[in-house]
């Protein structure tokens, strides 16, 4: 049997999960830790599609990226903004509550294609997949710096920032890294957008690869800066999704060369030069 799977190794399945922690970690931003066998199947930059209980009038699952998939402890960590009815219900799930998630979904980040340092740029709730990317790089001993932007100080997710700072490098490599914070209103770190900080970083150091996740307009700016310096840039896109695994074609992403890719199965990670941001 030939199964063309967009080159992903594990086909999506339905997995149970049980909430072990679900709490507010910044203004309007929650972290859920849950036990699920899926944690052993996920790669950084992939996502899961969560069935949030208690509202049968909404029939779509909620696609969420994760900040950590800990196979050893069977634990998955999701960080999400409460923005609508669905994520509000998600935030109301209690320790011990169970439901299901579909996954692994999507392609995930690719390792850098050339040697050299990586620059990670996150905006808002683009942070979780960037955190997962940082883990991937640290495990491979690839040096990186990080820029994290938020609207205002209270929207910065302290526990994730702490982890970003402390993340140990594998294989005895140098773990020195810069973490630059920005806020739109200047209440913490540099005032302004992440691209301003990125310009400074690019002036000081050279990078081989850039990874970015955040609002579309932010990623457009990041991609342009990276392109101007011939830095390979991967972006992780967000779309409203029907299925999450390539069945319904609802989450189209416009391609530079014309036509559409699907965010869920061709992405969510794309080479920034191939998609219209």
């Amino acid at each position: 049997m030939s199964v063309p799977t967009n080159a992903h190794d594990t086909l999506a399945n339905v997995h149970e999960f049980e909430v072990v922690e679900n709490k507010c970690v910044a203004d309007g931003i929650w972290r859920m830790r849950c036990n699920t066998a899926l944690s052993g199947l996920l790669r950084p930059g992939q996502f899961v599609n969560v069935d949030v209980p208690n509202d049968a009038s909404h029939i779509l699952r909620i696609p969420l990226s994760f900040s950590k998939a800990d196979a050893k402890n069977n634990e998955l960590e999701l960080v999400y903004a409460v923005v609508g009815e669905g994520t509000k219900r998600l935030s109301a799930m209690c320790v011990g509550d169970t439901s299901t998630m579909v996954g692994p979904c999507g392609n995930g980040w690719s390792l850098p294609k050339s040697d050299g340092r990586s620059l990670l740029v996150a905006g808002g709730v683009g942070l979780p997949p960037i955190m997962a990317c940082a883990r991937m790089l640290a495990e491979k001993g690839i040096g990186f710096d990080v820029i994290v932007g938020a609207q205002t100080a209270s929207r910065h997710v302290e526990p994730i920032l702490d982890e970003l700072r402390a993340l140990p490098m594998q294989q005895g490599c140098d773990c020195a890294r810069t973490l630059v914070l920005t806020t739109d209103d200047g209440t913490r770190g540099m005032r302004g957008f992440v691209t301003t900080a990125m310009q400074d970083m690019l002036a000081e150091r050279s990078y081989a690869t850039c990874y970015s996740c955040g609002p579309n307009i932010m990623m457009r700016g990041v991609a342009e800066l990276a392109h101007s310096q011939n830095i390979a840039c991967q972006v992780s896109l967000e779309r409203m999704m029907g299925c999450g695994f390539g069945a319904c074609s609802c989450c189209n992403v416009e391609l530079v060369g014309g036509g559409y890719a699907l965010c869920c199965s061709d992405g969510p990670v794309f080479d920034a030069s191939e998609v219209v941001l």
Binding site: L11, A12, N13, H58, I59, G242, C243, F245, C248, C251
Partner: protein, 309 residues
């Protein structure tokens, strides 16, 4: 497993059980192989609509969620054309067929000529197809689609044209509109079976921006919200035709599928439920067999149209 006979004949398409999938909600089957063995489980799968040449489909956003257990989509039949489709999925679909599951290829077009051209290409390059579904009811494309199926006359014109291109069974996917008259016209012009209903055109406006929540003004509503409407249309159509019907519309549970069968459907397609719970179709296969047994029947065919009114 049990002694209940579940096999049905959808106008010449032999199905091991009545459960089919609605085009556009099931990819081309392979996306569900991680959830269950598609080829060994279902009666049939209906592939995404494919046209002679590749189509890009509609711009984003193509999807909105509605409050009433429903979604709206406006994909607009994005597809790689018959050649691209066969190249990418032919081998897989061959394997589905070999596992005992019928493969129905859906044919799309903007005009009678385009339907003919796609049909010719399918006939030549898709030996794995058990039969074809002619989509004359897509609400999401500017020309053709639903317009082709809007009247008995226009529907019959498409059907008569494709009928001459293949001897394999042809199912026609109908719009939620005037189903008795159009169904009758399709039967007269050579359809082997009918599939209904396609999504119901709806509209969802963002009241802050005053714009559609999707890229196009209207889009197709699907999900549990339309189930009762779909059952009624299947029933109306079944009174008007002698060819078998595949019932579609909000089928989420085995009971929903059983309603379709009682209303007159020979087969039932699972659509939006594949998104909510990718295991739905498998659960419906299992539950439907239990229901047939619970009715004291030994053959699901004895329950087709068995609604008592």
């Amino acid at each position: 497993m049990s002694k209940v006979k579940m096999a049905v004949d959808l106008g010449g398409i032999q199905m091991r059980n009545p459960v089919n999938t609605a085009s556009g909600t099931f990819g081309n089957g392979v996306q569900f192989e991680g959830f269950y063995d598609v080829g060994k489980t279902l009666g049939a799968i209906t592939c995404k609509g494919v046209s002679a040449e590749p189509w890009d489909g509609n711009p984003a956003p193509r999807l909105a969620e509605l409050r009433g257990a429903a979604i709206m989509n406006s994909v607009g039949l994005q597809n790689p054309g018959v050649h691209g489709f066969v190249k990418r999925y032919g081998e897989y679909l061959e394997s589905v067929r070999s596992r005992g599951c019928a493969v129905i290829c859906q044919v799309a077009g903007h005009s009678v000529e385009e339907y003919e051209r796609a049909m010719d290409l399918f006939e030549e390059f898709a030996p794995f197809a058990s039969g074809f579904e002619i989509n004359i009811s897509c609400p999401n494309i500017a020309e053709g689609g639903a317009a082709m199926g809007a009247t008995p006359q226009s529907a019959a014109r498409v059907m008569s044209a494709v009928r001459t291109r293949t001897k394999r069974p042809i199912v026609v996917k109908m719009a939620p509109h005037d189903v008795a008259a159009i169904g009758h016209a399709l039967e007269e012009s050579g359809a082997d079976a009918l599939a209904l209903i396609n999504t119901i055109p709806g509209m969802s406006i963002d009241v802050r921006t005053r714009k559609s929540r999707l890229a196009r003004a209207t889009a197709g509503v699907s999900g549990p919200a339309i189930h009762a409407i779909a059952v009624r249309m299947v029933w109306e159509c079944a009174q008007a035709v002698n060819i078998p019907i595949c019932g579609i519309g909000g089928v989420t549970t085995a009971e929903d599928a059983a309603e379709m069968i009682l209303a007159g459907a020979t087969a039932v397609s699972v659509g939006t439920a594949n998104l909510t719970d990718p295991l739905s179709a498998k659960h419906i296969v299992e539950g439907l067999e239990e229901w047939v047994a619970s009715q004291g029947a030994t053959d699901v065919n004895d329950l087709i149209g068995a609604f008592e009114c």
